[in-house]
Amino acid sequence: MRAIVFRTAAFRMALWQAALFAVLAAALLGIVWLRINDYAQEQLRDDVAIEMASLRQADARDNLEAELRQRLAGLPADQDYYLLTDAGGRAIAGNLSYRPASAGWHAVPLHGAVGKDNSDADQVQLFAARLADGRWLVVGRDNRSVVELGEVLSRGFIDIGLLAVVLVLLSGGFASWRYLQRIDALGERAERMLEGAPESRIVGSGRGDEIDRLAARLNRMLERMRVLMEGMRQVSDDIAHDLRTPLSKVRQQLEASLADTSDEAMLRRSVDRAIADIDGLLVTFRALLRIASVEARERQAGFGEVDLSAVFEHIAETYRPVAEDGNRRLEASVAPGQRMRGDRALITQMLANLVENALRHTPPDAHIRVDLQAGAGALVGRIADTGPGIPAESRERVLKRFVRLDSSRSTPGAGLGLALVAAVSDLHGIKLTLRDAAPGLVVELRFPDTAPR
């Protein structure tokens, strides 16, 4: 875990930040030091100039040597330098071994001074002046205050810089560790769920931050995966259960017909029946595959703009004569010009299945209504009948594959129609509701509000 903490993006970011802070501190120190150094040097020269002026006043009062000796005796810190020489440059008084050659400012290395080797100073600023009588007066001050200032400054900057780097690294490490904890928690939950733990979703921190968003996406992904795995298991169950039975029936028939081959006409009938049974099986098989492919969302790629009103009209027009032939009445009221994005073939089949259900599960004289209503931002399709309806407790169940209610055992069918309707509506984001039409059943399709305006 420790090694991993240092390998996160968050920690790498912290490293970069620390380096940036260090560079920033160094740059700041440099700039400040340059300015302060200039200022301190100037201050130093000002001090020397004032001292020189003061001594020259003493010289005007013929009091120079006494004044000088007094200063040399009572020097507060040994950073001040004085030298008085005769016109030939020989020292009369002072604490400086220097031979003035010209008037003005001179910077001399400190090792030329006497007994001044116990400080950080390395240079003396000297101001030499020739007095009226030809003597030389030299006043100087070493640069220890400047050097010390620099040291204090750089020590301060280094301390602050180090502190900043350490703090950034610590906070980076902590952030990285927290991040890892949450990511690993996510990963572990996902892993457990993949291994089949009953947990249904990853719980975020509730802060709505990026990790929560990631958790939400993972949840959707895992849910999708669960549905797919479920679907796969369902399909194999379905095949095992509902295809094997009719297959065995066909096999038995063929076997039985082989037992007595004397009657050729009977044999032919038997083979014809077997082919018809197999065709029925193939229809079921195709329907199953289609449901599976719709559920796997393979088809969303084939979405285009669908004239929903036209599809509703088409279905009503197609099934009205079928209803009439069965002594039922089909009425339609379709709002014109309604469009949506989707798969036209699938929507057509969905509506056809619903209308066919209504036709097949109602007694003669039943009324069937096919409506498409648009209003108040909602687009709602309804297929209602006046038949026996579906009991409330079964309405969810009938949407599953191969579910057939006992009341409809006598009608042919494999119980896949509504399963396809459920899959298609799910693919299109259509809200599918089965309700009591008192009497009868009304299937409501609430279309998503994606219609291009």
């Binding site: 229809v283 595959l289 089949q349 056809a352 066919e356």
Partner: protein
């Protein structure tokens, strides 16, 4: 008719070929994509039957290549992939009809017949005529023996399709696909009901029946012999 079957499954190819021989068609066979392509490009065939999944070169690519070379012969694709998407893909590749496996031979024969004499580009007639029955595609008028017949829009399409394939057998599935654009098996008698209504309008009260039911295969619109 001269027909080329490009199909790698020997049993299926033999089954189809036997059926076609039976109809006195001249049949060639190719067992893989490249061979099928060179045969189709090198000789004249009235119809190609192409399996979608072929070794060497898949059926879709084969048809695309043929079409890119300007070969316009009708192609019927047969495939175990029966989903609507697969079908649409096939039609986009230049296939004229698409039949999902497994299929009944009667279905294959009906589709081959429809393809073989399919009007080529630009030849779609605006007026169709079978015996004394006339249909005008532009004015959408239908007359029999000079008497105007009122048809519902879907009935008109149904009759139009039947007349365009007059003299040939069209199957229920062909009608469902082309007239209703239903790519599934309805659980109710959609085709039968509409056919019976149409028959009531175009045949009732006339001496000769034009719309015939071909038992367990489909329907055929033709003049009495």
């Amino acid at each position: 008719m001269k027909i080329l079957i490009i199909e790698d499954d020997l049993a299926t190819a033999a089954h189809i070929a036997a059926n076609l021989h039976h109809r006195h068609d001249c049949v060639d066979r190719a067992g893989d994509g490249p061979r099928g392509l060179s045969m189709a490009a090198g000789q004249h065939y009235d119809v190609l039957i192409v399996d979608r999944m072929l070794p060497g070169l898949d059926g879709l690519s084969l048809v695309r290549k043929l079409r890119a070379d300007g070969r316009e012969m009708p192609v019927l694709m047969v495939s175990a992939l029966g989903e609507v998407d697969a079908r649409v893909e096939g039609l986009e590749a230049g296939v004229d009809d698409y039949l999902a496996k497994p299929f009944a031979m009667t279905e294959l024969n009906a589709r081959l017949a429809a393809l073989a004499r399919r009007p080529r580009l630009g030849e779609a007639a605006t007026r169709l005529r079978v015996a004394d029955l006339e249909l005008d595609r532009i004015s959408r008028e239908v007359r029999r023996a000079g008497r105007t017949i009122e048809l519902q829009p879907r009935e008109f399409r149904l009759l139009e399709y039947l007349m365009a394939h007059a003299g040939r057998v069209v199957t229920r599935t062909m009608l469902l696909e082309h007239v209703w654009e239903f790519h599934f098996e309805p659980q109710t008698s959609v085709v039968e009901t509409h056919i019976s209504r149409l028959r009531g309008k175009i045949d009732r009260g006339f001496d000769d029946e034009l719309l015939h039911t071909i038992r367990s295969v489909g329907y055929s619109l033709r003049a009495a012999d």
